[in-house]
């Protein structure tokens, strides 16, 4: 096989190019399936544009529902990538090499759906650019606009930089469309100087994206926390949302990795150890999430402000008890009992835990947004909320479109970074040996 001979000297990593070069028929079926949901969402959106937000289940006083829940959820998922990959890179966690790309793509793609959810929620999407024409910098929503656009820019750069050498491999391989790869490879020739610049740039971006990512979800939480509404007005919301975001982000990454591994036969690259390590991270986040949730609810309960207690009890025992307790089970009980034991921290185990966490985290966002709105301070405006097919269609359509775009990405670029895996093989192994030696007594420190 031509591809094999060409890349034998690279340690048989041709397998990583396979999804880009050849496409199986099942890809098209799956793509059609996803696009069918996309068109449902598109149709629902057209209806909403034509008739107004009245076609949704929103009302007075529940002015925000599924769309804002999705907004917070998608922005949360986006923490999968950039943040995790940046932290792992900076920590020199060598097991990261085959998973960073898969993570970074999630970030960039899912951000569009976060922003899209807000656009869906606007009564006048045609006037959305008013946020640039007459911005009010006192509004947390404008802080969101700023931090999310910075985050999108930074994480796109952070995705593209490590892609350059791989794009050059594709270019040299003659992958089509040739012009795309020639353009995006930016004249990469693997010279020592280019490598040095690239590594510096990646390190700089890795440091930069961490505070940006943290700020993004903090600001998202402030949309709620800056108001005086019961159970929104909480100083814990910033870190609570960041923890939740990383939590759901890792969960999405695990699911994506399991699918990639299965569909593209990359068992050699995404090994049980990757799932084990990410599973442990997920376990830590589950415990942190529980800590924050507990702290938040016990404070409300003990303080017993009546207007807060109304919302509190509607979640624990009232109308929103079902989503609340499902959230508790899926965010805490299931993941901790699966991930807490080595025996169940298998690939299947971590995937089940991750799916459960994703369901739970969506419900968490829902139980933050809706119960507060449905029970305002003054007693006469109580309300209820149940979504219509429009919101459900757009929500499902967004999920499907995201998966479609993710799939499409794997058809244009290798989803496991080829050069980073190769670098791991040739450089990192001796490096790690020297590094570990340097920790031990009687050894001199190697120059970095």
């Amino acid at each position: 096989m031509e591809t094999e001979s060409e890349h034998t000297h690279n340690g048989n990593d041709w397998k990583l190019l396979q999804p880009v070069i050849a496409t199986r028929g099942s890809f098209y079926y799956l793509a059609m399936c996803f696009l069918a949901f996309t068109s449902v969402a598109f149709f629902a959106w057209l209806r909403q544009l034509r008739y107004g937000l009245g076609v949704t289940g929103l009302n007075v006083p529940v002015y925000w529902g599924f769309y804002i829940t999705n907004f917070v959820f998608f922005i949360g998922i986006s923490h999968a990538g950039t943040l995790i990959s940046a932290i792992l890179r900076l920590c020199h966690a060598e097991w990261r090499r085959s998973i960073t790309r898969a993570a970074e793509v999630i970030t960039v793609l899912v951000l569009f759906f976060g922003v899209g959810s807000v656009i869906m929620d606007l009564g006048r999407p045609d006037r959305a650019l008013n946020v640039l024409r007459s911005p009010n910098f006192r509004s947390p929503l404008l802080w969101d606009v700023c931090s999310i656009s910075v985050y999108l820019t930074a994480s796109t750069i952070y995705l593209l930089l490590p892609l350059i050498p791989d794009i050059a491999i594709l270019r040299d391989h003659g992958a089509r469309p040739g012009f795309l790869y020639r353009l995006l490879a930016l004249g990469w020739r693997s010279t020592a100087k280019q490598k040095r610049i690239l590594n510096t740039a990646i390190s700089v971006m890795a440091v930069l994206v961490i505070p940006i990512a943290v700020s993004v979800h903090t600001v998202v939480s402030w949309v709620f926390a800056m108001t005086v509404q019961p159970m929104w007005h909480s100083s814990i919301f910033g870190p609570y949302f960041v923890v939740g975001a990383i939590f759901s982000g890792i969960a999405s990454l695990i699911v994506a990795m399991a699918l990639i591994r299965r569909i593209y036969f990359l068992e050699e690259y995404l090994k049980p150890v990757h799932f084990n390590n990410l599973g442990l991270l997920l376990l830590v986040m589950a415990l942190l999430w529980f800590y924050f949730t507990f702290a938040e609810y016990i404070t409300t309960f003990y303080g017993s402000d009546p207007s807060h207690l109304v919302v509190f009890y509607s979640k624990l025992t009232g109308r929103y008890a079902l989503p609340f307790w499902i959230m508790f089970v899926t965010c805490f009980v299931i993941p901790v009992s699966i991930l807490g034991r080595r025996k169940t921290r298998t690939i299947t185990g971590t995937v089940v835990a991750s799916l459960s966490v994703n369901v739970g985290m969506w419900l968490e966002r829902f139980t933050i947004v809706v119960p507060t709105l449905s029970q305002p301070r003054l007693p006469w405006a109580k309300g209820n909320y149940s979504p219509t097919w429009v919101e459900i269609g757009i929500t499902v359509g967004f999920g499907a479109t995201f998966m479609f775009l993710y799939m499409l990405f794997t058809k244009f670029f290798p989803i496991v970074s080829i050069w980073e895996v190769q670098e791991g093989r040739t450089q990192a192994v001796p490096e790690v040996v020297t590094r570990v030696r340097s920790y031990l007594p009687g050894e001199t420190l190697p120059s970095p």
Binding site: G52, L53, N59, W64, G123, N130, V145, L373, G383
Partner: protein, 238 residues
């Protein structure tokens, strides 16, 4: 500069809802069909809201007309991303309908839930369409609207006073709800003028504001007998 405010005497209010109807016609507030109203889509800038007091069988209801309370420190204007709502120098919380993007952040930040959203294109069936007030713009679908204290009346009254080269006198500018109130329960005027009716009433022992503890400092002041504080019911009777 005046600081416009309203005083509503709950002891005089007969719950006739004339203020609500007057507001609807004065401000071209759209008619929401009953099935949509049942889904919580009703738009009314001033609503007569029942406040239940006590427990059965010693239950009493205090009807309370609630317009936008025009806070001096409004939580809604801070959060608007496009500056579509602002506190004008005379204390009126206004809304710029052509700029509003319909994000409904202000409706959620308002602790009084007195901001309304146009879920559909506004409807004015039959004669209503011919009875639209030319002084007030009809809002398009997808924007937030709210009580403006009949700001167009202020502009008209001020223009008239200016044409006659004199100051605006008390009682020349009153919103439609205050003008119509047959029980004389509603008063309107300059809260900063110590001699005005509203300022005198607002100083009285019966005066209170809704959710005073939030520090929003509303300029709609209620007068009531009894010990209802205007907070939520549970606290008042705890």
């Amino acid at each position: 500069m005046p600081r416009w405010g309203m005083v509503i005497d709950l002891a005089k209010c007969t719950a006739c809802q004339a203020c609500v109807v007057a507001c609807q016609t004065e401000n071209n507030v759209p008619c929401v069909p009953p099935e949509e109203a049942a889904r919580g889509r009703i738009i009314s800038w001033i609503s007569l809201l029942p406040q239940l007091e006590g427990e059965y069988p010693r239950l009493s209801m205090r009807p309370t007309p609630v317009p936008c309370v025009h806070c001096d420190n409004p939580p809604c204007i801070r959060v608007c991303p496009v500056r579509a709502t602002a506190l004008n120098p005379e204390g009126i919380v206004r809304q710029i309908f052509p700029r509003c993007i319909g994000c409904r952040y202000c409706t959620n930040a308002c602790p009084y839930t007195r901001r309304m959203f146009n879920w559909y294109k506004p409807e004015f069936p039959g004669e209503f369409a011919e009875a639209l007030n030319p002084d007030v713009s009809v809002r398009p679908k997808g924007v937030v609207e709210k009580c403006t204290l009949c700001h167009h009346r202020l502009q008209k009254a001020r223009d008239q006073a200016r044409a006659q080269n004199r100051e605006l006198a008390e009682g020349e500018y009153v919103p439609a709800c205050v003008e119509i109130c047959p029980a004389g329960a509603m008063h309107f005027g300059d809260l900063d003028d110590p001699n005005s009716t509203v300022a005198t009433l607002a100083r009285g022992r019966r005066a209170f504001r809704l959710l005073e503890e939030l520090g929003t400092n509303p300029k709609v002041i209620y007068l009531a007998q009894g010990e209802w504080s205007g907070g939520d019911g549970e606290r008042a009777h705890a």
